[in-house]
């Protein structure tokens, strides 16, 4: 799916939280929206699936304004998974296929398939309730739920932020594999995550795009110098420790 934000503004609490954002994402691209807290990253993501309405400008996905029907072909993953606590893992994963009216056999097969894709054994996890899962498992189910109806666009909002570092890198790898060549927009405040999971990085500060660069050139751009400094310091420490 193509995504196009044109001169978009969003206001909240009397001030602009997204300012004149223009952004085009082409089919198959893996884009990270990077920036500090409050930079407007999550709001941009919510603009794309229509959960936030722009005060100015236009948002189009495949040339259309996003409505309820189109949202079903957009996968959506948020921090902690936000699983439905009253539904089993299988019913969580089957949520969108149910909305789309798939038949039971097709849903069953797809649930098993997509659980395997995110590294969860179907027999063990199908009937489990979300409260019995670990943080990493919950997030895997969250990704499986988003992937179940074969979305053509995946939106991920800080999906790994709540996980410990070892688990995070394991999950980043597994999720990247599960996503395959689906068009992806990932919101993160972690530059390493942005570099690992995407081909193109859009840097936001105070609601505006300050840099839009391919992964390889990103850290060399002047606008990303603070991220480059942090990365260098981390490397120096790691180099010494290793």
């Amino acid at each position: 799916m193509d995504v196009a934000l044109a001169s978009v503004e969003v206001h909240a609490g009397g001030r602009a939280i997204v300012r004149d954002v223009t952004l085009t994402i082409r089919k198959g691209e893996r884009v990270a929206l990077l920036g500090p807290s409050g930079a407007g990253k999550s709001t941009c993501l919510r603009l794309i699936n229509g959960l936030v309405e722009p005060a100015r400008g236009t948002v189009r996905v495949d040339g259309r304004v996003v409505d309820v029907a189109l949202r079903r072909s957009i996968g959506w993953v948020i921090q902690d998974g936000a699983l439905f606590p009253h539904l089993s893992v299988a019913d969580n994963v089957a949520f969108v296929p149910h909305l789309l009216g798939w038949d039971a056999a097709r849903i069953d097969a797809r649930v098993d398939e997509v659980l395997a894709l995110v590294g969860l054994e179907a027999e063990r996890f199908r009937r489990a309730m979300p409260r019995k899962l670990s943080g990493g498992e919950r997030q895997r189910v969250g990704v499986a739920r988003a992937l179940a109806a074969r979305p053509r666009l995946m939106l991920l909002d800080e999906p790994f932020a709540a996980l410990d570092p070892l688990l995070r890198s394991e999950l980043q790898r597994d999720v990247a594999r599960a996503l395959g060549d689906t068009t992806t927009v990932l919101v993160t405040h972690d530059v390493v995550e942005a570099l690992t999971m995407s081909d193109r990085i859009v840097l936001l500060r105070d609601g505006a795009v300050v840099l839009d660069a391919p992964r390889d050139g990103f850290l060399r751009a002047p606008a990303a110098s603070d991220y480059a400094d942090t990365a260098r310091r981390a490397l120096a420490v790691l180099g010494g420790a290793l």
């Binding site: 919510r46 699936n49 959960l51 309820v68 029907a69 189109l70 949202r71 079903r72 957009i74 959506w76 948020i78 902690d80 936000a82 699983l83 439905f84 606590p85 009253h86 949520f95 969108v96 149910h98 909305l99 739920r145 988003a146």
Partner: protein, 203 residues
């Protein structure tokens, strides 16, 4: 004991009437209160809660009396009694529906929206199931209150266990009063225990 034995048949009949009055009212209150609660939570909180609040402040004997002259729903007998009890039972159900819906983690509601659920699907598949344990607490309060208040319904000829109580008061016979009051209290306690168990299972 022999006194109870003599009246056993009538006690059973009156208990049946009493249950029919209070459970009928509770059921009706659920059918009306649940949608009202959803409406209140979505947009009309003040007017809806104001109306059900005001109903609650009318003394029950007065409400039974006020219904007497009304056409269709009024008069004497079981119909106006069920309607009055239903009006009382609305408040706890409407309130707990609002509280239950408000208590859901906003991230869960947004997840449902973000995945493409319509308002109706979100309500039926996510919000109401999650609010249900709270709503059951409201149903319990409504049922127990109805069983208590239904005793007064005998004043407008609705039958039920209140019949013994009013008769006992009229002829100054404590045995008659207790013949109505004790089963009514037992019914209330039993209903409370059963619905509490349901609540625990759900949460």
């Amino acid at each position: 004991m022999s006194y109870v034995g003599e009246h056993l048949a009538e006690v059973l009949t009156r208990t049946g009437e009493h249950l029919a009055l209070s459970l009928g009212a509770t059921l009706g209150a659920v059918l009306i209160g649940l949608p009202l609660g959803v409406l209140a939570e979505r947009r009309l909180e003040r007017p809806v809660l104001a109306v059900v609040d005001v109903v609650q402040t009318i003394p029950s004997l007065a409400l039974f009396g006020l219904l007497l002259p009304l056409p269709l729903i009024g008069g004497i007998g079981a119909t106006p009694a069920v309607i009055a009890l239903l009006l009382y039972a609305l408040l706890p159900i409407v309130r707990t529906t609002v509280v239950g819906l408000r208590g859901i983690d906003p991230a869960i509601v947004e997840a449902a929206r973000g995945l493409g659920a319509t308002d109706r699907q979100r309500l039926l598949r996510v919000e109401l199931p999650l609010a249900f344990p709270t709503i059951v607490a409201g149903i319990r309060v409504a049922a127990v209150t109805s069983i208590g208040t239904a005793t007064i319904a005998a004043a407008i000829g609705a039958g039920g266990l209140g019949t013994f109580v009013f008769r006992g008061v009229a002829v100054v016979d404590n045995r008659l009063i207790l013949l109505g009051a004790v089963p009514a209290a037992l019914l209330a306690v039993l209903t409370d225990v059963v619905l509490r168990a349901v609540e625990r299972r759900l949460s």
